[in-house]
Amino acid sequence: MLRFLIRRLIVALLVAATVLTLAFALTRLSGDLAISIAGPNATQQDVELVRKAYGLDRPLIVQFGSWVGRAAVGDFGESYFFKQRVASLIGERMPITVTLGLVGLAIALAISLPLGVLAAAQEGRLADRIVQGITLIGQAMPSFWLGLILMILFGIRLGWLPVSGTGSWQHFVMPGIVLAFTAVPALTRLTRSGMIQALSSDYIRTARAKGLSRLSILLKHALRNAAIPVVAIAAVQLGFMLGGSIVIESVFALHGVGFLAWESIGKNDFPVVQAVVLVLAVIYVGLTLAADLVNAVLDPRLRGQ
């Protein structure tokens, strides 16, 4: 178990290092930063001043080293556009994105687990076909389109939910649903196949031979085993959701990290872009590690090793 976790930790660090390098490289490839920072009316002299002031005249490797060194202690520099420390900028926006991601994941699980269990219990019958149809449609539906439909229906026609902003919990309902829908098809299908496999196993035959109730067989004996891969994928999906929140945050004008990244890319505000990419990647890696831990808790065979 410990060796397994250490191995995962090493992989996670390698991923983080790769992302770090990529984040740095991408911003340097997108043109001369000194020119874009100095602005459209700057003279050649201004540009040279900026280059010196921001340390952009040093060799790339030195710039990378100093950036990594500071990033490691949470210092991402100052935003060119917002004139504010990047770390505090992200710190302000992060709660919104995390709330959105958790709401999305909660909604996704609340939909996928019951649907998957139902489909498996009714394998091959009408309910199963309907669930499979829903997952197919869900997969084919672009999230911004679903977002717009929901906005028109609940926001404008019915007036039940606010269309944009972050004032109250109601603001998170629609974007949460849209975000959840990106994960529902995969999670439902995984739950269904896991349940079908579990239900055909010998220990379920034993549970039935013990005369246990149908509910206990489905939810205690089968779901507990089927849930193991679902948990792992759910954590990965949460990572996707945090990344995918760029689209949804802009559709619903939620001022989270995704929205910040979107703004900063347009303004060539590279310290912010780098930091957002890095933070999201670290969260993603952390989530997959957490999934392994939860797996170990759920699966006693892993725990024992």
Partner: protein, 328 residues
């Protein structure tokens, strides 16, 4: 004679693909008796047992002329009514000890839940009962075992746990489907001794499915021989070994001719050919492809003959056709 504890007649099971796995099986298990069901692989032993417990996979259809347990008609029982009997008054253990326990729960949790469900007992009472039953099946340090997960136990220990779990509610009938086949030879003998001892001490009725004629000779009061979905011969154990009637039974016994000298682990006799896969609508004797005495009439419906008290067989040949025996 009083009514049998488990009384099966005309049991039929057909699978969705059209395989007629069980075709009119009749078995009667008396209280306190060990009844062995023997036959080659694929002849329908497990399917018969699962049909009795109503544990068949979806897609299997079951019917019977009579299916009674302790005077109760199982055919007219609802799913919940049947669930109330299973694990409570009739229990079953399986061939695969490695996979029959849920890997996600401790031994204790799996053992206590059956007692709590059927007896409505408290956690404490159920736990005490589980520890008592583990000790009963020869497991030392039961308290420690209760907290362990299945993967921490060997195959033999897991089968002991399965037996202890099956006996938690003090059932009248235990169906054991090849409980020792997957185990090491030495462990097989231990488990078999354990089962025989429990059967005697608890007055259990046991329906024991096995390939092993050595086991039959040692533990069975009665034997039913299955072939291609039918019970082709049924008799008291001594009677069957002394006066086998059906050509298939004789073929099985030919490799092990002296009843007292059968050793455990002896395989069923080697008869040329394999068990046919019988489709729904099949007529006549299922053994006729492999039978040395087959005659044209064997393709029509075969009569059931009596060969003495509580001994019958399914064949065209008249009882004690011993003149022909050498030809088998």
């Amino acid at each position: 004679m009083s009514e049998a504890l488990l009384d099966i007649a005309g049991l039929r099971v057909t699978f969705a693909g059209g395989t007629a796995a069980v075709r009119g099986t009749a078995i009667a298990v008396n209280r306190g008796e060990t009844h062995c069901l023997v036959g080659e692989s694929g002849c329908g032993k497990s399917v018969s047992a699962l049909a009795v417990m109503n544990l068949l996979a979806r897609g299997a259809s079951r019917s019977a002329d009579r299916l009674r347990f302790a005077g109760e008609d199982l055919l007219s029982l609802s799913d919940t009514g049947m669930a109330r009997l299973r694990g409570n008054r009739m229990a079953m253990i399986f061939q695969e000890p490695m996979t029959s326990l849920n890997p996600a729960y401790t031994v204790g949790s799996q053992m206590t839940e059956v007692h709590r469900r059927h007896k409505g007992s408290s956690r404490q009472v159920a736990t005490d009962r589980a520890a008592e039953m583990l000790a009963r099946v020869g497991i030392t340090a039961p308290g420690m075992r209760l907290g362990q997960f299945p993967h921490q136990l060997s195959g033999g220990l897991r089968q002991r746990v399965m037996i202890a779990m099956a006996l938690m509610c003090d059932p009248e009938l235990l169906i054991a489907d090849e409980p020792t086949t997957a185990l090491d030879v030495t462990v097989q003998a231990q488990i078999l001794r354990l089962l025989a001892g429990l059967q005697r001490d608890l007055g259990l009725a046991v329906l024991l499915i096995t390939h092993d004629l050595g086991i039959v000779a040692r533990v069975a009061d009665r034997v039913s021989v299955m072939y291609a979905g039918e019970v082709v011969e049924s008799a008291r154990t001594n009677d069957l070994f002394a006066r086998p009637q059906h050509p298939y039974t004789r073929g099985l016994l030919d490799c092990v001719p002296v009843p007292g000298k059968i050793r455990p682990g002896e395989p069923l006799g080697s008869i040329p050919g394999v068990v046919p896969r019988v489709r729904a609508g099949f007529q006549g004797c299922g053994f006729r492809d492999r039978c040395a005495f087959a005659m044209p009439e064997c393709a029509a419906e075969v009569p059931r003959h009596a060969a003495g008290e509580a001994h019958d067989y399914l064949c065209r040949l008249a009882a004690d056709w011993s003149g022909l025996r050498g030809a088998a």
